[in-house]
């Protein structure tokens, strides 16, 4: 399943090592995640669902969906798509008997579901008391996913307290740009990303970028990632923390865990949130079957780790992501059976669609996926035509042969940290979902917390970089760095960004941005006052 030849990406594999999966040796290469190593070895069922023990494979490959949780070296509930292999590592599936691949408890799925639908553990068998007590005990028997560790974790954790001017969360184009522009004014910056590399989504983009010439159009995404991360590396006042997951914002204090072992308490005067976005999923029968993946998950597997997701795929969604993914798959020698699109027309740019058509991939508009077919993994899919009222047209079902399905229906902003910090949020469909209110410099309603990139609204790398620069500069300016020159530069980027959005594709974005931009002096509410505002119905 490993790719050896690729026209654009050169896969430099690390040393060959052995890991153990449910006791069996599996070949792996240093530098790859446990999930990719297992997948390359043909293992597709990664876990069983919590209640009905349905088989689950990986979906997102970025630690967001929880369907890849396993026990690693005795520690339960580890998302193996975010853990890198080590020689001799022992990996076990959990919540299944005897293992995730053939789990006897999966009968729960076929039998119990009918009598015991979701949520009913509060509702059913409540009377008489004897029965209730019995059921309460039984519920507990099936509860829990991981096994409690047999012995205590031996490695010692450590702790570091850091004081800095600006903390940047997320090392994609948005976060890197914020860090670079802030650091150039002399501000001290801590840049954190959960991956062992910088670049965010860009590391998966093997294609040449669209966008204006001034903003690196024509350059491949992976190359932009390289340029930016080199620049980050050259600036001595940026402290980069790799494999560092930020889990909370506590009133000017950033809580993070570095390399699973070290707790970081970062006191920052300003914070820039550039956490990007994650894949949305779609409701259809069997949408949790191993082999149904997010587009980003497939890109990660293929373009970052050089592993084939399968032999023949079905792509759901014809936006740019779906179209680009299609030709990235073909590039890697993987067949694409078809693209289905619920809308009556193709969503993405014409150039991408034309390219896909040339490759001979059929695009079914006004179609959707009805169900995934297969027992333990995808063996095919059923698609169906939609009429103008978005209702299925009876009799139009069609079977597509494929061994994986990619859901590419869009991204949602990774907004959790902002929400937790008390930033005022708004649901704006044009921007992809729940996004924070912000000033034209990206500052949210919580003073000192900025946003940049996809987390502020799903857009593109070009605008993410510009938003990053603006946020980084403004944060530095407010701290007294950079002087007139920084102010001039910030205002120039603000103008550039406006101009960029006035292009043909910016209309929707602009209308979204309008809904969430506020003038700071007008409504500068801090977190506690915000509660008041909501309770008074002002919102």
């Amino acid at each position: 399943m490993r790719l050896t030849e690729h026209p654009i990406v050169k896969f430099k594999r690390g040393k060959e090592i052995t890991i153990y999966f449910n006791g069996e040796p599996v070949k792996a290469y240093e530098g790859e995640t446990v999930a990719s190593a297992l997948y390359a070895a043909g293992i597709t069922t990664f876990s069983r669902s919590f209640r009905f023990h349905r088989p689950r494979g990986f979906f997102c490959a970025i630690g967001k969906c929880s369907s890849c949780m396993m026990e690693v070296d005795g520690i339960p509930n580890i998302r193996i798509c975010k853990v890198y292999v080590r020689d001799g590592m022992k990996i076990k599936t959990q919540n299944s008997f005897p293992n995730a691949d053939s789990d006897f408890l999966s009968i729960l799925d076929s039998i119990v579901d009918r009598f015991y639908p979701h949520g009913s553990h509060y509702r059913k068998f409540n009377k008489p008391k004897v029965l209730r007590d019995f059921v309460t005990k039984q519920v507990r028997r099936f509860a829990g996913t991981g096994n409690p560790p047999k012995k205590a974790f031996e490695e010692k954790g450590s702790f570091e307290e850091i004081e800095t001017d600006i903390a940047v969360v997320g090392g994609g184009p948005g976060g890197m740009s914020a860090a670079i522009y802030a650091a150039r004014t002399g501000a001290r910056v801590v840049l954190m990303d959960e991956n062992p590399f910088l670049g965010g989504q860009l590391v998966k983009q093997t294609h040449r970028f669209f966008g204006s010439g001034k903003h690196r159009a024509g350059t491949r995404g992976i190359r932009i990632a390289e340029i930016l991360s080199n620049e980050v590396g050259e600036l001595k006042n940026i402290d980069v923390r790799f494999e560092t997951k930020v889990f909370g914002l506590y009133n000017g204090v950033v809580g993070a865990v570095e390399k699973d072992k070290k707790l970081l308490k970062i006191k920052a005067k300003k914070i820039v949130i550039a956490t990007g976005a994650y894949e949305r999923t779609l409701l259809f029968e069997n949408n949790d079957l191993p082999g149904v993946y997010g587009a980003g998950g497939v890109q990660t597997l293929m373009n970052v780790f050089g592993i084939k997701p399968g032999d023949k795929g079905l792509i759901v969604g014809s936006g740019n992501v779906g179209l680009i993914l299609t030709y990235q798959l073909m590039q890697a020698g993987i067949d694409v059976a078809a693209i289905v699109e619920a809308m009556p027309r193709i969503g993405g740019y014409f150039v991408h669609a034309a390219k896909v058509r040339r490759l001979g991939v059929p695009i079914y508009t006004s179609h959707t996926i009805k169900r995934a077919i297969g027992d333990k993994k995808v063996e095919g899919a059923e698609i169906v035509k939609l009429d103008e009222n978005w209702c299925e047209v009876k009799g139009s079902e069609k079977r597509i042969d494929c061994d994986f399905i990619c859901v590419a229906i869009g991204l949602s902003p990774t907004h959790e940290l902002l929400y937790q910090a008390g930033c005022e949020m708004k649901f704006v469909p044009e921007l992809g979902g729940l996004v924070p209110m912000r000033t034209e410099y990206g500052e949210t309603t919580v003073e000192g917390i900025y946003v940049a990139g996809d987390v502020a609204g799903i857009e593109e790398a070009t605008s993410a970089m510009m938003e990053g620069r603006i946020a980084g500069l403004d944060a530095a300016i407010k701290l007294g760095y950079g002087g007139e020159e920084a102010i001039r530069l910030r205002d120039e980027v603000v103008r550039d960004l406006k101009e960029f959005r006035e292009g043909p594709f910016g209309e929707r974005i602009l209308s979204g941005i309008k809904k969430v931009t506020f003038e700071k002096e007008a409504i500068s509410v801090s977190a506690p006052e915000r509660e008041e505002a909501i309770s008074e119905g002002i919102e």
Partner: protein, 365 residues
């Protein structure tokens, strides 16, 4: 007769339920929504292992009510009576021994347990972390279905529950309460029950009544789901760290709260650090596991540790608060008491708000 209850926490709901059962017209005003208060944020530890006679009686009665009422409502509270374990270091063992004598004298089943025996009940418990403990009646309840159940029960009896309806003031005439101000409206009522938990001092101030409850903020978190291995609810009275495992297998734990100046429910990193240390010291197997989520809640505690229940100097204004960190164990019984006060004019000196105005009557803990 019309009664307004402030707060849709367990205290307000059980009060409303008891009043409505007697045919009283009841309206509950809730400034946010169900589960917003401590009743939706607590750890669900239920026990009769208390340090005061009055509390033990209330807890016993409450457990009985939970058992009966679950069949009445269509919700299973997932009340698991696998025991309540209090542990302590040498310095605090005396306190536990003393309360144990009281508990036994009142028929509570409780026994001393040594740290090595605890390890047989709770795999992985570190016997070195404590000097001793007592295990007795109790266990864990899931607070959410309790609240959902009471809401359903109240509704069936015709109680009106108004969410997003903050009480902003009162109408008072000649030292008598006449109405409640909610959303620019004044609603005429005969009684107001102040069951607003951590906000009860603020509400009392609005009514011009003195209440000396303290606001306590407590933080709590859950660790990702594991196969059940912790049966009893464990509370270390020396460190304040407590741990239990929910019906879903999530390990729920926190540190007993501290006084705060205002009802603030923000989470802190320092709590996580402190709890992680305390929990890993007590059950080292928890080291290396991931925290799934954290949150905080606020409740109110009275100066002498007993609830504050009874009519105040302002006629018609009734306190039902100060339940402390034991509200889940006490509130079902408190609801019955409030109903008796309102309907029968009964007086409970031990809980009466006026007890604090006579210092010589204040009992020491």
């Amino acid at each position: 007769m019309k009664v307004a209850v402030i707060g849709s926490g367990i205290t307000g709901l059980s009060t409303a339920h008891n009043l409505a059962k007697q045919g009283v017209e009841v309206v509950i005003f809730e400034k946010k929504t169900y589960l917003y208060g401590a009743s939706g944020r607590n750890s669900g530890g239920i026990t009769t292992m208390m340090d005061r006679k009055e509390l033990i009686e209330l807890a016993k009665r409450s457990i009985k009510i939970y058992d009966d009422i679950q069949g009445e409502f269509s919700f299973n509270f997932l009340f698991r009576k696998d025991g309540y374990l209090k542990v302590a270091d040498g310095f605090d063992m005396g306190r536990l021994e003393k309360e144990c004598r009281l508990q036994r004298s009142m028929g509570v089943k409780v026994r001393e347990i040594d740290p090595f025996e605890i390890r047989e009940i709770v795999p992985g418990f570190n016997p070195e972390s404590v000097d001793g403990g007592f295990i007795g009646e109790g266990g864990v309840i899931f607070p959410w279905p309790v609240i959902w159940g009471y809401v359903e029960g109240c509704r069936k009896l015709g109680v009106e529950i108004m969410r997003n309806s903050e009480v902003k003031g009162f109408e008072v005439e000649n030292g008598e309460l006449k109405g409640v101000k909610v959303k620019d409206e004044t609603i005429k009522v005969d009684f107001v029950i102040n069951a607003s938990g951590a906000w009860s001092v603020l509400i009392s101030k609005l009514a011009g009544v003195e209440l000396r409850n303290r606001i306590i903020k407590e933080e709590i978190c859950v660790i990702e789901s594991l196969k059940p291995f912790i049966d009893p609810y464990i509370l270390n009275i020396s460190t304040g760290v407590y741990i239990s495992q929910s019906a879903r297998g999530e390990v729920v734990g926190g540190v007993v709260g501290r006084e705060a100046t205002e009802p603030d429910t923000s989470s802190t990193l320092d709590f996580l650090i402190g709890y992680a240390k305390g929990a890993a010291e007590m059950i080292p197997l928890l080291k290396g596991l991931s925290v799934l989520r954290q949150w905080a809640g606020v409740y109110d505690a009275s100066p002498d540790g007993l609830p504050v229940v009874g009519e105040t100097e302002l006629k018609g204004f009734v306190q039902a608060n100060g339940l402390g960190r034991r509200g889940m164990s006490l509130a079902p019984a408190i609801g019955e008491i409030v109903a008796k006060i309102v309907l029968k004019g009964k007086e409970y000196d031990e809980f009466s708000p006026s007890r604090f105005q006579f210092p010589e009557r204040t009992t020491e803990n």
